[in-house]
């Protein structure tokens, strides 16, 4: 190699190196950046086709940026997030369950994007409850991604066999359940209403419906309310329903309920809209159930009304330590924007992040969207995630359903813990 050629190739190598480095530090969006954008999405959140569409649109604008979408599991996500945020290179974008945002925002893990809010599509019509979950001390730390709420999925063929219609009050629910138990109950695996013992988010509507609550805030202090007379009344009604209608594992959780439902021995489950897809999945479920499923909102004890449900959902946040702020915002904007959100409704069957697109849903998803009209949220405190992680409410339900504790004893023990953790 002659000296000139050598010099040339060294210069070329340097130039390459310089552009590579430049890509990670520049924050303009002119399309010359290179580098990698790491995104953590949760298992089961967006259909692959939606993510692929967002990546294609992103790639068209930034051909040199590689987007790595990694799917995380809900069961151990807090451990992984803690570890990632403690390191120097957390993922740039992450989906966070709406009950987790406050914890990470308060710890300083998330980028404050208040000033960028106007730049996101539909930010004026975002779902209020999700926007609230993204807001901590008046600042915006994430954008709403999608919402989900629970309703009761039921087998239309079984209901027809006992001549039942979707119940419109808790009493009716109990009556329909008894009829179903009468017809199918000799099958030892049959449950009219399959209700695993740790299923807190299906139990909460009963507490709220009778005027109870998890905790209330006055000033900066939280006070547990799960042992109030109203909360206890709701839990008593639920305990009786579970005792009469459910043969689910009283200490189990809801993770396996869709597979169990697909086995055909269950008439009703409390479930999210997307779980219909799991039940009818050709691999893990039973596709022949597709025409035998329908849904109705969890009824209130006041006939004709529906019980308030927990509005679950996810938000999209950007790590404060991310070196790709502008790119991350752009990617988040695409997934939270009109195009991807429309697909989330039509393909994914979820409730979109903006009220302007809710009308796109039809069929079963529309029934879930309707059930979400009366919705509630968990205490918006950075410590709420710790109440969830410590299984306080799950343990309380298990001891109530198994009869290990009375309702007053179980609720007052849980109440002390909730008050304690929320104020710590």
């Amino acid at each position: 190699m002659n000296p000139r050629k050598l010099l040339f190739s060294v210069a070329a190598a340097f130039a390459l190196l310089a552009t590579a480095c430049g890509g990670t530090t520049s924050s303009n969006t002119t399309g010359n950046e290179s580098g990698t954008l790491t995104v953590w999405l949760m298992n089961g959140s967006a259909p692959q086709s939606v993510v692929d569409g967002v990546n294609a649109d992103f790639k068209a604008k930034h051909p040199n940026v590689t987007v790595n979408v990694e799917i995380q599991q809900w069961s151990d996500v807090t451990t992984k997030l803690d570890t990632a945020f403690a390191g120097s290179t957390p993922p740039d974008v992450m989906e966070l369950g709406n009950t987790l945002v406050a914890k990470y925002a308060a710890a300083g893990a998330l980028q404050d994007i208040s000033s960028k809010k106007g730049g996101f599509q539909n930010s004026g019509t975002w779902l209020q409850s999700l926007t609230d979950s993204c807001t901590y001390q008046g600042k915006l730390y994430c954008i709403p991604y999608y919402a989900g709420s629970r309703a009761i999925i039921y087998r239309t063929d079984m209901f027809a066999a006992v001549g039942a219609t979707p119940p419109t009050s808790i009493d009716e629910l109990a009556t329909v359940g008894q009829k179903l138990m009468g017809k199918y109950g000799s099958d030892p695996n049959f449950s009219a209403l399959y209700f695993p013992g740790k299923y807190w988010y299906a139990a909460a509507p009963f507490v709220w419906d009778f005027g109870g609550d998890i905790a209330t805030q006055s000033g900066s202090k939280w006070q547990g309310a799960i042992n109030s007379a109203q909360s206890q009344q709701g839990l008593t009604v639920l305990r009786n329903l579970v005792a009469n209608l459910s043969r689910a594992d009283k200490t189990g959780d809801e993770l396996k309920q869709d597979q169990a439902f697909a086995q055909g021995h269950i008439a009703m489950i409390v479930a999210n809209g997307w779980e219909v897809g799991v039940i009818t999945d050709p691999k893990s479920g039973d596709p022949t159930l597709k025409d035998k499923l329908d849904a109705f909102p969890i009824p209130s004890h006041n006939a004709g009304q529906t019980a308030p449900v927990f509005l679950g959902g996810s938000d999209l946040a950007i790590a404060a330590k991310s070196k790709q702020q502008a790119l991350a915002q752009e990617w988040v904007g695409l997934l939270g924007g009109t195009k991807a959100q429309s697909q989330m409704v039509t393909v994914g069957g979820v409730i979109p992040n903006t009220t302007s697109l809710v009308s796109l849903s039809s069929g079963l998803p529309a029934k879930f969207a309707a059930a979400a009209k009366v919705s509630r949220f968990t205490p918006n405190s950075p410590n709420w995630a710790n109440v969830e992680s410590a299984n306080v409410l799950q343990d309380m339900l298990v001891s109530i359903f198994t009869g290990k504790s009375t309702i007053p004893a179980a609720t007052s023990a849980a109440n002390d813990k909730i008050t304690n953790i929320l104020n710590s």
Binding site: S75, T79, A86, A107, P188, K250, Q394, V398
Partner: protein
């Protein structure tokens, strides 16, 4: 060589010392340290550093915010104080201790029985039995626990089906984890099942070293099999027993996977062994200081318990020398 010779020799050696360079002496004294130096460094790096960090963390308030900033708040012994008034922590320690005693006892008992069996059976049976033991030992722990979980499943478990069909009662939809005593019994089965192979094979190896003539002599003197076992075999195997006891204690006190995987990573508080408690406080509630303090308590208890074993082992080795 008489007394005079001894005196001469010591004079010579003293002279030699005086004459020899002090550097040589120094080298002679330092050489052993230099030789163990690298190993020591590795041990300090691999064991000492994490242990030191753990101790330091246990004196900190170290939540998520502190984790992100890599900067804790020193609180002295507050984390430990919190334990002393927490009834749940007392329960956790009690359960862990009882669990360890039961599991070590059962594992050692069955391990010894199988080792004695191995010694007595014919060769083909011994090969089959050892192969079975090695297979159990070779199964990775998480898949093994998952298999057990399926077997004890509430809805579809084969154990419930089998017990019902064998006429042991109605076990359809029997929940093994509703009652913590039953639940811990299941966990004990899994832990003991996993512990037996190592113990049995080690003890069998030890048994083959018991001199045949000692046993024969005892038998000729009229000792019954039980007496031979108690008076001849056990004393000879004592060093092996001591090591296995201390290892089992350490393992069983630290049992985590069995509880965590079996109960779908959300064990309720009845099932909190000290390791589960420490993990829950650290990684679930993000109170790393409190979690570390629990781990320190765990290490302290283990040190106290294993001190006895270690002292015995050291005594035995010095006796042997």
């Amino acid at each position: 060589m008489g007394v005079a010779g001894d005196a001469r020799a010591s004079v010579v050696s003293r002279r030699h010392m005086e004459a020899g360079s002090w550097r040589l002496v120094l080298a002679g004294r330092l050489l052993p340290y230099a030789l163990i130096g690298p190993a020591l460094l590795v041990i300090i790096g691999v064991l000492g550093y994490p242990l030191g960090t753990l101790l330091w963390l246990s004196t900190q308030h170290y939540g998520l915010r502190e984790l992100l900033q890599h900067q804790g708040v020193f609180v002295g012994l507050k984390n430990f104080q919190a334990f002393s008034i927490d009834p749940q922590f007392r329960y956790v320690v009690q359960v862990s201790v009882i669990f360890t005693i039961v599991n070590v006892g059962l594992s050692m008992f069955f391990g010894t029985c199988i080792a004695l069996l191995l010694e007595r059976v014919s060769r083909p049976v011994r090969v089959l039995l050892s192969a079975g033991l090695v297979l159990v030992w070779a199964t990775p722990s998480i898949p093994a626990i998952n298999l057990w979980q399926w077997m004890f499943d509430y809805e579809f478990g084969v154990i419930n089906w089998l017990l019902t069909h064998l006429g042991a009662g109605n076990y359809i939809h029997h929940n093994w984890f509703e009652n913590p005593i039953q639940g811990f019994a299941v966990i004990t089965v899994i832990v003991v099942w996993g512990a037996i192979p190592f113990l049995a094979l080690m003890l069998y190896a030890g048994l083959t070293q018991v001199p045949r003539e000692l046993v024969e002599a005892a038998e000729i003197d009229g000792a019954r099999p039980w007496q031979v076992f108690a008076m001849v075999t056990i004393p000879i195997l004592r060093p092996v027993f001591l090591v296995l006891f201390s290892l089992s204690t350490i393992w069983d006190f630290g049992v985590f996977n069995q509880v965590w995987v079996l109960l779908n990573q959300r064990p309720n508080k009845d099932y909190f062994l000290i390791s589960v408690y420490s993990f829950q406080e650290s990684f679930r509630v993000s109170q790393y200081g409190l979690g570390s303090a629990a781990a320190v308590v765990m290490v302290a208890i283990l040190v106290v318990v294993t001190f006895f074993y270690v002292r015995q082992t050291v005594r035995l080795t010095t006796e042997a020398i």
